[in-house]
Symmetry: C7
Subunit: 82 residues, 7 copies
């Protein structure tokens, strides 16, 4: 799966339609399906769950995330395999 | 409803006139009707309620929100369906 | 009053000469009459009152506010009507 | 005095040579005479007094202030009149 | 190994495919294999481990890191040699 | 001494070779001789003393200061005269 | 040694290959040999030691530092001479 990642945005591109875990500044975590992104790393995710200490704090559904609050984005499938 | 979201701003476009929940930096939450947005994610919302711990803290009515304080924007209808 | 708000700055334009409530980063609130704004959301307001917990903390009179400290701007009349 | 304020920087222009109170991020307040400003809101003030809780904490004399630390700038004369 | 580092990004270039330790703002540390970077210092790393006080807190697998949260990036091999 | 200050950077220009006091974000203060500056307000100072509560905490000698951490810059001679 | 510093980046240029002490936002200090820098003040340093209260906390070896986390950069030799 790692093959084909030449530039950082390539990982976002191959993650469209898949589950991702997003860390935000201020210790928030959002889990959901990545639908869209742009060069500012603004995202739209679906079925978003706001997580806290591994538990679902709130269901947010479809959500626009502003790029400058994002620390990292990780496809869930790659975390499970490790 | 997810169909047609190619770019992040598409979600804001289809949410015009609808209820949205906005998370701001510094743990503020605003709920209201999205009227307008621009590429900086500056928003105008109507019937804005400042929320704290799920309760209405203050009614602000029509409100301009500066984009760089925004963490995420979520149409309320999609959260309710989940 | 909502009609005619196509872009976020339209709300600031129709609020000139009217009372507005401004939330600033760092939990400051300023109330006063909006006189002028620019695309950076720099404002000039008159009869500015610095508010804290709903009480007037200080009268500042004519004041220039730098846009990047602003969270939101709300015309007072629309809050009262709700 | 309000007449003639079409754009936010107009207030800084008419305040040159006059006493102003400046709020900075991090709860600092500087009082002094405004000598110069630029479009970044960088300022030069003279006879600057660093204020804390209404008292003079330090005399700084001539001072360059970097614009991005500034919250607001208020001509002292307009505050006194209210 | 130091030879050939003319510009800061040269170190990132020679570190591709190698283990790196990344310090993020807010006291987070990520260890993993550097796969890609761009001029904003956005990174993609594989086999990412979120570290806290020298221990693995969470396995994140493939991860996109946004450049503006990064403090420093250090190839692990050079730290071990010292 | 105030004459000739048309723009904020003029004060930095006439302060070259003189003692200045610099306030940094995060409550640091540096005192030293201003050698050079640029439009980002990056500075080079010599004989820099890191100050805390009016006492010298550390001698840093020649130092490059990044502009975006600077709050204000004040020529020491103008403070003493007041 | 001060001669020849016309612009702030000149000090970084003459410090290449020499020991420098770097203060970062969030009270971190890195000591090491400056190898490279760019106009964003991104640095590469070698033999980097993360310092805390004057003691070595961690050896990081070769390290890329992102410019926007840097407060100041000071050649060690100039501090010792004072």
């Amino acid at each position: 799966m790692v093959s084909g990642i030449e530039r950082p945005l390539d990982l976002l591109n191959v993650s469209k339609g898949k589950e991702v875990l997003v860390y935000l500044k201020g210790d928030k975590q959002f889990a959901g399906t990545l639908l869209a992104f742009d060069i500012h790393i603004n995202l739209v995710m679906d079925n978003v769950k706001e997580m806290q200490n591994g538990e679902v704090k709130k269901n947010l559904g479809l959500t626009f995330l502003r790029g400058d609050t994002i620390i990292c984005i990780s496809p869930a499938s790659t975390a499970l395999k490790k």
